[in-house]
């Protein structure tokens, strides 16, 4: 497997009004091309900070990370947040088109790709709807479509289904799996759900409470393509047990 991203002793300390806050400490790992990596950990640990660093939204205070592609080529990164984060003044279709507009893709081609993407997430009937008309699950599907249409080199998912109810959440996990299996890209997903992490990932990392560092790193050797039923595999259950024990 080719190496895509190398994270080297990454650390982040925030200087807030109440003094220093160390969010991330000495995090090192390597992400392969097309690898799906999940990060589990107690809430309030520096998981989101890791994603914000990789997305270039903040600068690290220690260590560094480097993408394996050519040194002066910036990789394309898509970010999905816990909230769908759609632009309320744009329709579903226009929201999905946004990354292509930014990339300067020609209009006809962009529309073609957006329509295919809308079909993939099953929102054909809502292409012209406003975000305010969507349920939480539908809005998050639009956000995922928007992330994938950019054809990112790296997809960063920050608790993408955290605001959804349990049933919708499971369905969305399976749907994300389906989309990802058709459009392989490197993914780092922060989540609280052990089964979500196991169903989707090639590898799972567990973070300690703040300042976050890696306490467990586990390869998930379940055959692909995986389905909903994979959740009931005995091997899956064993993995889940091990992860549960490692999270404090």
């Amino acid at each position: 497997m080719t190496q895509f991203l190398e994270v080297d002793h990454l650390g982040m300390t925030f200087n807030g009004a109440e003094g220093e806050l160390q969010a991330l400490q000495d995090v090192s790992f390597i992400l392969a091309e097309q690898e799906f990596l999940s990060v589990l950990g107690p809430s309030g640990s520096g998981k989101s900070t890791l994603l914000r660093l990789l997305a270039g939204l903040i600068k690290p205070t220690a260590g560094s990370f480097q993408f394996g592609c050519l040194p002066n080529v910036q990789p394309r990164i898509s970010l999905v947040f816990q909230q769908a984060n759609l632009m309320p003044w744009r329709t579903v279709l226009q929201n999905i088109l946004l990354p292509l507009e930014l990339q300067g893709v020609e209009r006809g081609k962009a529309l073609e790709r957006a329509n295919a993407m809308i079909q993939l997430v099953g929102l054909e009937e809502f292409a012209q709807a406003w975000p305010s008309e969507l349920s939480g699950g539908m809005a998050q599907r639009v956000a995922i479509a928007r992330a994938f249409i950019a054809e990112p080199d790296l997809l960063l998912l920050d608790e993408p289904f955290g605001s959804l109810d349990a049933l919708t959440r499971e369905r969305m996990g399976a749907e994300l799996l389906k989309i990802w299996q058709s459009q392989r890209t490197a993914v780092i997903m922060v989540t609280h759900s052990i089964s979500e992490a196991l169903l989707l990932s090639d590898r799972v990392m567990v973070f300690s409470p703040r300042p976050a560092s890696i306490v467990v790193e586990m390869k998930v050797d379940l055959p692909r393509p995986r389905q909903e039923e994979t959740r009931y595999d005995p091997q899956f259950q064993q993995y889940a047990k091990r992860l549960r024990q490692s999270i404090k």
């Binding site: 997305a55 270039g56 939204l57 898509s78 632009m87 003044w89 406003w130 305010s132 008309e133």
Partner: protein, 273 residues
């Protein structure tokens, strides 16, 4: 320093509220209300018989309206005022929007300038209008300046609030997608701030009419404010009424237009089923 968008000035707030409430009823209710007032007015004049220079009858005002319309004087004066109002509104809000954008971006700049901006609001424009006429002459340009000055502050405040209110999450999204500065401006910041910007423009529109009349009162030889002065001087109260009604019509039209733009820019807000 500046935290609340300017929605309505205190004195005109009630008037606008009532208007909005009325607009929600069927149109005929408004017509009934207007007819009722006209009837009371006509009957009052009929029974009370006040001298015409105190209170002319609706009929006399209407006659004055048609005659000034026929000889072209009403349109001539109204178009001068309208031009001043529009030009003042345009330049005042253009300048305020540009400055407001940079003030919203830099709180250091805002801290530096806001004492002056707030202090400038303590000076009644009516008091310095004569000075502006002395400096810039009795022509149209001094009126445009007065309109621009009166429009400036509310539009500025709304611009700052509007651009500050752009959600951080969406900013992060744009940054993570490597949007350029220009893309951030026209795909995120402007559409996000637009409803509040139009809100500022709506208030600015009615203020601009006030500015034009104030300027014309102080010194001019044309415009509706001048017409009111002439009517007062000649005890032609009907003419004063005609000028006032024309001003009301002008202010309401501009207000309605800005409100329409505001509504259109927030179509998505009213989309709930």
């Amino acid at each position: 320093m500046i935290k609340q968008p300017v929605s309505e000035s205190k004195s005109s707030g009630k008037r606008h509220k009532t208007l909005e409430k009325l607009a929600r009823y069927n149109g005929w209710l408004v017509i009934v209300s207007i007819l009722l007032v006209l009837a009371v007015w006509a009957l009052g004049v009929l029974w009370g018989k006040p001298p015409a220079f105190l209170l002319p009858s609706p009929q006399a005002v209407w006659d004055k309206f048609t005659s000034t319309l026929a000889d072209g004087s009403l349109l001539r004066h109204a178009s001068v005022t309208f031009y001043e109002v529009l030009a003042g509104l345009f330049f005042g809000s253009l300048l305020a929007t540009c400055l407001g954008y940079f003030l919203a971006k830099s709180s250091a700049l805002e801290k530096l300038l806001s004492p002056y901006l707030v202090a400038s609001q303590a000076i009644p424009l009516v008091a310095i209008a004569p000075l502006l006429i002395i400096w810039f002459g009795p022509g149209i340009s001094s009126k445009i300046l007065i309109c621009a000055l009166i429009v400036f502050f509310p539009v500025l405040v709304n611009t700052i609030i509007g651009f500050r209110g752009v959600p951080d999450n969406l900013r992060d999204l744009m940054v993570s997608m490597r949007a350029t500065r220009w893309q951030k401006l026209h795909l995120l910041e402007i559409p996000a701030a637009l409803p509040i910007l139009f809100g500022g423009l709506r208030i600015g529109a009615t203020l601009s009419v006030i500015g034009a009349v104030v300027g014309e009162f102080v010194g001019s030889d044309k415009g509706l404010g001048f017409l009111i002065n002439v009517g007062r001087g000649q005890f032609d109260t009907a003419l004063v009424f005609v000028a006032i009604f024309t001003l009301i019509f002008m202010a309401l039209s501009l207000y309605g237009l800005a409100m329409l733009a505001e509504k259109r820019s927030t179509r998505w807000k009213s989309a709930h089923h």
